[in-house]
């Protein structure tokens, strides 16, 4: 992989983190292809071969439906989230698709509360080159965190 390609991939990860930490949820689906896969799955299910995911989306439309849910229908205690994402590790690049992974930690801060570690895991990604730049064809979020602290509302 060329230096420029690696820079672009790193930039994608950084832009994604900024978007999902911004509170502007409408930015989120734009990082994905139309027929994308996005799943947030406990490590337990992932490693034992159980298909259940905490959230399992199979199209950009589903991501947009989630955004609608966050903004309009899901009642929840509001919180800030902050992603810290490690450098992407590239497993394969065939010129069209990049297979890579990256560790992440997400911190949660509620109003008048201390910041806490909210969710920790890794992204397992397939990134594709499109005329609009790099997009996630698949983003599998596998989390170590054994317990979700009550609820998970915003995208990781």
């Amino acid at each position: 992989m060329s230096f420029d390609d690696y820079m672009a991939l790193t930039r994608l990860h950084a832009d994604y983190a900024r978007a999902v930490d911004s509170g502007n949820w409408d930015l989120w689906p734009g990082f994905f292809t139309d027929d994308c896969v996005y799943r947030i799955q406990p490590r337990e299910n992932h490693e034992r071969g159980f298909p259940l995911a905490t959230l399992s989306f199979e199209s950009k439309g589903m991501l947009m439906d989630r955004v609608y849910g966050i903004k309009e229908t899901l009642f929840h205690d509001p919180y800030y989230q902050r992603h810290v994402v490690g450098a992407p590790l590239v497993h394969k690049d065939d010129g069209e698709r990049i297979e890579c992974e990256a560790n992440y930690a997400v911190f949660r801060t509620k109003f008048n509360e201390l910041t806490s570690v909210y969710n920790v895991g890794r992204y397992i990604d397939t990134v594709v080159r499109t005329p609009e730049g790099l997009k996630f064809a698949s983003r599998l979020v596998v989390y170590d965190s054994e317990m979700i602290p009550n609820s998970l509302i915003y995208p990781l």
Partner: protein, 415 residues
Amino acid sequence: MAHEAVLRWHDAGTSRIPFAAYTDDALHREELARLFYKGHWCYVGLEAEIPDAGDFKRTSIGERSVIMVRDANGTDVHVVENACAHRGVAFCRERHGNRKEFTCPYHQWSYTLNGDLQGVPFRRGVKQDGKVNGGMPADFRPAEHGLTKLKVAVRGGVVFASFDHDVEPLEDFIGPAVLHYFDRIFDGRKLRILGYNRQRIPGNWKLMQENIKDPYHPGLLHTWFVTFGLWRADNKSQLVMDDHHRHAAMISTRGAQGQAEQVTQVSSFKASMQLQDPRFLDIVPEPWWGGPTAVMTTLFPSVILQQQVNSVSTRQIIPDGHGSFDFVWTHFGFEDDTPEMTQRRLRQANLFGPAGFVSADDGEVIELSQMSFEARPSHRTLVELGGREVGNTDHMVTETLIRGMYQYWREVMEA
């Protein structure tokens, strides 16, 4: 009765529940003793989680760690306490696996899968310079020092256990009215585990039972249900309790009567709102439903059984002190499901669980309830929708199931 000092009921009824019922540690310990460890069957898992001889799963009943294990013969299911008879070590750390025996790492005491003590190192002492040093007393009888063995009942592939060997039979415990709805899901078909979700909810465990005994909130809190037409206040529905009013089934059949806003009274309802991807609600009726599109069953105190259209799961309640519990979701399907049906169940699982479109908000409001209980334990909640009495109904506009649960709670806790 440790709780009398803090608990003051409004009257002999249960339409006003003292906040203190949720905030007191001594009362919580008494609940564990009377509701989780005595006189009740608690959920431990599904047989499909331990299909082969020696398979085990570690879980909890109340706040005590237990192991559900399939015996070496491959048929019997045992439940033993995860506490070594020697020094009490919670020896099993894996959450699931396969064993020929259980061994405590501290002093290598070993047990058969049904909990019998079979090995005690240096039991007969150690020979040194022609004499025997130490060893267990001559009257030490291994048969008296097995793991705590629980009474086990399996029905339709669901495993229940009780520390109380005098507990009534499971079928009597559940009672015929609610057992009918239990058997509707667990009718003998082999189950297929789809996976787990785990959340820790900072609220008293009873609030989760109450949440699923409360048909008042779904059309109001869960705006998503209403927006996309899955829940309506005029759905044909029924509330059914056992004779003790401790368990219940909320049964509803999705209707198509009239304009939704006439009955929802939810101001934010958007009749024109469509899903970008309608596959979230790709509902295909199944023969075993026998009509109802959703049946939510609460088995007191430890589990909720969910059928919401094509999504089926068990939701186990594991208390952790008076102000917190773990909520463990086990989603499953049936052995004869087509790949399409499995996919459908997984897709509809997006509605439920800690991130679900219509479940994430339940945990949130439970947390907010607990916050205010803690701040003002002398106050009380008000559950008087549909009157102050307890009884089955053919509608959802009532909080009768919550009143029923506390009627039973008072019987047990004030005895």
